[in-house]
């Protein structure tokens, strides 16, 4: 789930704000260029580094301004970091417009590797290979993450904000009802039927605020029903997405929606907003929530006294829904990528900031402990890497993800591994399956067509084989 979508709250940017901010960025770039030109030009570090960030207002932005920005400037005397926080829901559009106009900051985020590929094709991102050796990124960063940032064996983007889909449950409600998180499809369906029978919505769900969030569910069903091996074969072109194993997964998802297990009814699934569904989850009107690891950052808003209830939450891996699918497996997701503008006058400075933000395990762990999910770096974390102040559930999730991916038990989120048109197809057309305007087979057939075209165009990022 790209970070701007996981942040849930859309804050449209007016044309005036865009012009002002674009002007500031251009002015910043202009000043940077002037300063560097005055110093003899080149790409040496030492001048200002401009950056657009997709961080949400509140804790993530505050933490960045109070800790990361001064920390970097202190560690790199003479280099000023000039960050502009853009509306998460709009940042990709703003980046696209700025880059097309020959502008934009030194450091640029994108919603994920599949989106970055287009910019790489248009030669808008700088190659980062010289910094791989300089900063030992090969040794520090997760290999699969670094591979995702490569195109034609050249590194252009650094994946950031690692995430995965998990099963949250209202642990207080589960305890009161003597329930356990499901470990198989049978257990999951039995649990859902029992909860539904008692007037409790099995899964808090809804796409009213952000229809594109419907993509979470095909991702979950393809990974945990079809399985990562089937996905690997489809993503590498060996099997078409029209294969029965994918069609059956969509039919299963549709069946659950029609039964009212997601959000209470199909209509409510379409209209429930995030605040409402999370409030239901916190209050115990809904028992579980299938969502990305990013929800950990905001779970505190819906549970406990602050939210007007006495409940607590926990999480578990999503269960396999078919034999042959690994028991504890996580679909890999990237919330954003970080790249350097090909027109940057300070690529060295930009690369040094990327290294500062992403590659230092101790520092990254502190960030991740302070603000869950916003700063998840692609590093091989272990239990002892995180400070004691970190929430145990967040720590467990990060370690589990790291260990499972290390063992090859990973799957693929569509917003990370599918090219952009395929991703949009998945988001837009699945609604027609749920309303009965399209069959699951037609949906998958259509996806196969779109994906095949994009694959031919070379827009599919590198796919790592599960178990590798």
């Amino acid at each position: 789930m790209p970070f701007e979508r996981m942040l849930m709250m859309q804050r449209p940017l007016s044309r005036r704000q865009f012009i002002v901010r674009g002007g500031k960025a251009a002015l910043g770039a202009g000043i940077a260029g002037s300063v560097l030109a005055g110093c003899g030009g080149g790409s040496s570090a030492g001048g200002p580094v401009t950056m657009w960030s997709n961080l949400e207002p509140g804790d993530p932005q505050d933490f960045f301004k109070q800790n990361i920005e001064p920390g970097f400037e202190k560690a790199n005397q003479g280099t000023k970091l000039d960050v502009t926080f853009q509306p998460p829901a709009e940042i990709d559009r703003l980046v696209r417009t700025a880059l097309q106009g020959g502008e934009g900051p030194d450091i640029i985020p994108t919603p994920g590797p599949a989106y970055a590929a287009e910019y790489v094709d248009a030669n808008l991102f700088a190659e980062l290979d010289e910094y791989v050796n300089q900063y030992s990124w090969d040794d520090k960063l997760l290999g699969w993450a670094l591979d995702l940032g490569r195109s034609d064996d050249k590194l252009y983007t650094i994946p950031y904000q690692l995430q995965t889909m998990i099963l949250y449950f209202n642990s207080t409600l589960f305890e009161e009802m003597g329930l356990q998180p499901p470990k198989s499809r049978d257990e999951l369906e039995g649990l859902a039927e029992e909860l539904n029978g008692q007037g409790i919505v099995p899964f808090a769900a809804g796409i009213g605020d952000e229809p594109a969030a419907v993509e979470w569910f095909p991702t979950v069903f393809w990974n945990h029903f079809s399985g990562p091996q089937a996905l690997y074969e489809a993503l590498t072109g060996e099997t078409p997405f029209s294969d029965a194993v994918f069609v059956d997964a969509i039919e299963l998802f549709n069946d659950y929606v029609q039964r009212g297990w997601f959000g209470g009814s199909r209509e409510k699934f379409f209209s429930n907003g995030f605040d409402a569904l999370h409030a239901d989850f916190g209050d115990g009107k809904a028992a579980m929530n299938i969502e990305g690891s990013w929800f950990m950052a905001s779970a505190v808003d819906f549970f406990g006294q602050g939210a007007g209830n006495e409940n607590d939450w926990d999480w578990a891996p999503l269960p396999p829904m078919q034999s042959g699918v690994p028991q504890e497996m996580y679909a890999l997701g990237i919330g954003s990528t970080i790249s350097v503008n090909a027109r940057s006058a300070n690529t060295d400075g930009a690369a040094s900031f990327i290294d500062y933000l992403v590659a230092d395990k101790k520092r990254a762990a502190e960030y991740m402990a302070a603000v869950p999910s916003a700063f998840n770096a692609p590093l091989p974390f272990e239990e002892g890497d995180f400070p004691g102040s970190m929430d145990e559930r967040v720590r467990r999730q990060l370690v589990s993800l790291s260990q499972a991916t290390g063992n090859g038990n990973f799957g693929y989120t569509n917003w990370t591994f599918w090219p952009s048109k395929s991703t949009v197809y998945i988001q837009e057309e699945i609604q027609k399956v749920l309303t009965g305007d399209m069959t699951a087979a037609e949906y998958c057939e259509g996806l196969a067509g779109v994906f095949t075209e994009e694959r031919k165009e070379g827009l599919v990022p590198k796919i790592i084989e599960p178990g590798a």
Binding site: Q100, L124, G208, R266, F269, S271, K421, L434
Partner: protein, 314 residues
């Protein structure tokens, strides 16, 4: 000024000795006028003509929004004609037009007529009617999303009072209700403005016409049909024209509330165009869609102009 006029008149006579001076003055005046207009023209060229020409160009290309555009001729336009999503969206625009040509105009006329009959507290009503119009669309949308929420909104509140017929109804999540529900919200913000437009027009209708009609035995309805409507015809035509064009270009409330969903049930060409440009990255196709809608709007304006020239009182 008078001297200048005399000079100009002299200059108009061929062979006059003041002719060259007059021509020079005329040139200076022309130059001054163009110099005054130049900044505005420059701004227009920059922000209107330039993007318009670019849009026309890109509508003939396949372009993702970044990188080079590939010339495809009329391909985007032929694709539009065979695009089921476009025709579905256009049909929603037409339905939207029908709704807005009837509901807010009807409510506006009725409201203005009733408001014109009172003198006390009229200003209070005018302010109240106008408030939704000046509120930001995102605020209006958020208010109604909460009011119409199936679990926390008016339906569940009425159910607690023993009126269960709206309980659990998901206005924005139902394929059948989504478009009318968004139209309702948009209408809530729009109709008060229409009331004020009609009220202003009503106040310019000669009161003696009403007196004469009364003396002829006309009732309220007959006065409304035979005096009020003809008296505010110009405003009515203006509102109808604005409604049609606005309905073809509608975007904000639909995008904010349903983003065209569920499953395209409230998709209009404006939201489809946005998705093509910024989600599917088909900027060339989106440009063609935009031009198509501009063409339709222009066509409607031309029809009005044509009818007026033919002597129709529109």
């Amino acid at each position: 000024m008078e001297v200048n006029e005399q000079t100009l008149r002299s200059a108009a006579r061929p062979g006059s000795k003041d002719a060259s001076a007059g021509r020079a003055l005329r040139r200076r005046r022309l130059l001054s006028a163009w110099l005054f207009m130049l900044p505005l023209l420059a701004v227009n060229v920059l922000v209107i003509l330039g993007p318009s020409v670019a849009t026309v160009y890109y509508s003939f290309t396949e372009w993702s929004g970044i990188g080079p555009a590939e010339w495809v001729g009329l391909q985007n336009y032929t694709d539009i004609l065979s695009d089921g999503d476009f025709w579905s969206a256009l049909s929603h625009n037409l339905l939207w037009t029908v709704i807005f040509l009837t509901v807010p105009i009807g409510m506006g006329l009725g409201g203005a007529f009733m408001l014109s009959q009172i003198t006390r507290f009229q200003m209070i009503f005018r302010v109240l009617f106008f408030i939704p119009y000046v509120m930001a669309s995102v605020v209006n949308a958020a208010i109604w999303q909460n009011i119409l929420d199936p679990d926390r909104g008016i339906g569940s509140t009425l159910a607690l009072l023993g009126i269960p017929w709206l309980e659990g109804v998901s206005f924005f999540g139902s394929q059948a209700l989504a478009l009318p529900a968004v139209a309702f919200v948009d209408n809530w913000h729009w109709w008060g403005f229409v009331v004020l437009l009609f009220l202003t027009a009503l106040q310019s209708v000669d009161k003696e016409l009403y007196e004469a009609a009364k003396m002829d035995g006309a009732g309220r309805w007959q006065q409304f049909v035979n005096v009020t409507i003809p008296g505010i015809r110009a405003t009515l035509v203006f509102v109808v024209l604005m409604t049609i064009i606005g309905s073809l270009l509608v975007f904000d409330y639909i995008y904010i509330i349903t983003q065209g969903g569920p499953a395209g049930a409230s998709e209009v060409v404006g939201t489809l165009m946005y998705k093509e440009a910024f989600a599917r990255f088909e900027a060339g196709y989106a440009a063609a869609l935009g031009l198509g809608m501009s063409f339709l709007s222009g066509l409607i304006v031309m029809i009005f102009i044509y009818l007026r020239r033919k002597g129709w009182e529109v």
